[in-house]
Amino acid sequence: MAELLKVDDINVYYGAIHAIKGVSFHVDEGEIVTLIGANGAGKSTTLQTVSGLLRSKTGSITFDGQSIGGVPAHRLVERGLAQVPEGRRVFLQMTVEENLEMGAYTQPKANTPGSLERVYVQFPRLKERRRQIAGTLSGGEQQMLAMGRALMSKPKLLMLDEPSMGLAPILVEQIFQIIRDLHKAGTTILLVEQNAQMALSVANRAYVLETGKITLSGTGEELIHSDEVRKAYLGG
């Protein structure tokens, strides 16, 4: 299958802190790939470097056949890259529908009604609350909104940063069901999670990130059964 995203030897720094040390991975079209690792391993930093919010000092990032290293974040959305940031980061003072409209910022206005309809079919809860201020939504609803908002730009690659963070188990189940549905509908997904069990169960392939380096990779199936992963991330 065609390679959609290729990250090759990136190094990212916060001042003197060397957060990402020579990370390489790739995502093929139609895959769900997950990046798992403990808190502080560098998962968010990796995603933010791909989406253009942070810069790598070395290496290259290729998306959809073009080099995107150095392209500012706001120019990558129209190319088909969407990121749901850690902690959801919906616009709390805007209504649900306004949040979704912001997701369609780079799209022609004529497409908005159709995109809204698609998102509302996927997330009926958001349709019920379309006129409500996002700040009044529950955590699970905000996560759905953040995902729906990202889908409004019709991304080729959807990057999710810890979508299950802080949610009750039943909601985690629900979010992962949505991830499976989106994948089935043809969306390519790069999923970052601390919840390794759930992430590995939906992923085609996975990478383990430890203090800024990739230490393991394989299919989701392989890693679920790997001793190292079981010990470190799945509680034995």
Partner: protein, 299 residues
């Protein structure tokens, strides 16, 4: 002055404060900085309009338009040269830079246009059928000057247009998104730098309009002309709740009315002290200002 006279001139002065306060509040909302040079843009706008009309003999309306255009460019330039490089610097550094820009503008004006006061012409004069000049309307014992009338109308129109633009315009919504969360806005495809530039452009254009209206009521134009209305409007923005557009409107109007009433009924010398005393009381009772939201600092 009667009570009604005072009220009307208070609303008129307050309208000018409100227009200036909009610039402070919008820039604060989006760039999270206090642009202390904003008051001096008023002064530059007033000079540009003054020279356009008196030296280049342009019609007043064209003079105002030229002032708005050049101030817009000035606002964008100030932001790009002085503030944009400090986007991730500590806010104290930005504040000191803004004060520096303010002094720079005042001294540049001193150099270019000398400290000698210029008398700003009154544009708001109608000629009656007999050729007599009329500067206002007489309604019984009440006299309302055209300047007052125009100022209030302009302020209301600006408020309505701006509110509509922010709530419904694509760029307006982008501005709200940027003011809430810059990185999230970037991930929507919004160019944050452009959005900040537009905010400075709008604020500075409004400052030029405010400058002309202020000068029409208080016609002595000197290089420090902008500082007092600038500080008062800043106070008005804080009073109403900095970051809030209706807050700037309300804060401006209240401040103008309080100032004029203090002048009329308490003491001309003490009016400014009264204004600031009211501000302090309001902030003690409601630190976020009248219509301000409680700001949760993000960690």
């Amino acid at each position: 002055m009667s009570f009604l006279d005072s009220l009307i001139s208070g609303i008129s002065l307050g309208s000018v404060y409100a227009i200036i306060a909009l610039g402070y509040t919008m820039v604060y909302g989006i760039a999270k900085m206090l642009n202390f040079a904003h008051g001096d843009v008023i002064m530059v706008g007033a000079y540009i309009c003054f020279f356009a009309v008196t030296r280049f003999n342009l019609p007043p309306l064209v003079g105002i338009l030229v002032a708005v255009l050049l101030c817009t460019v000035l606002g964008i330039t100030i932001e790009k040269l002085a503030y944009a490089p400090l986007r991730s610097a500590p806010s104290l550094a930005v504040l000191i830079t803004a004060i520096g820009v303010s002094y720079f503008l005042q001294n540049a004006a001193l150099l270019l246009w000398s400290p000698n006061p210029k008398v700003f012409p009154n544009f708001f004069i109608l000629h009656g059928a007999d050729g007599a000049e009329q500067t206002g309307l007489e309604l019984g014992s009440l006299r309302i000057s055209y300047v007052t009338l125009v100022t209030i109308v302009v302020c209301v129109v600006i408020m309505l247009v701006l509110t509509f633009f922010i709530n419904n315009g694509k760029l307006g919504k982008a501005m709200r998104a940027v003011s809430e969360d810059k990185d999230a806005a970037r991930l929507m495809g919004i160019n944050v730098n452009t959005t900040i530039s537009v905010t400075f452009a709008i604020g500075s254009g409004l400052a030029a309009i405010a400058g002309v209206l202020y000068m029409s009521a208080y016609p002595t134009l000197v290089p420090t002309t902008g500082s007092m209305p600038g500080i008062k409007a800043f106070t008005a923005a804080v009073f109403g709740g900095i970051g809030s557009i209706p807050g700037a409107f309300l804060g401006g109007l209240l401040l103008g009315v309080i100032e004029i009433f203090a002048k009329a009924y308490i003491s001309t010398q003490l009016s400014d002290a009264v204004v600031f005393a009211v501000l302090i009381v309001v902030l003690l009772v409601k630190p976020s200002g009248l219509l301000g939201k409680v700001v949760r600092e993000k960690v």
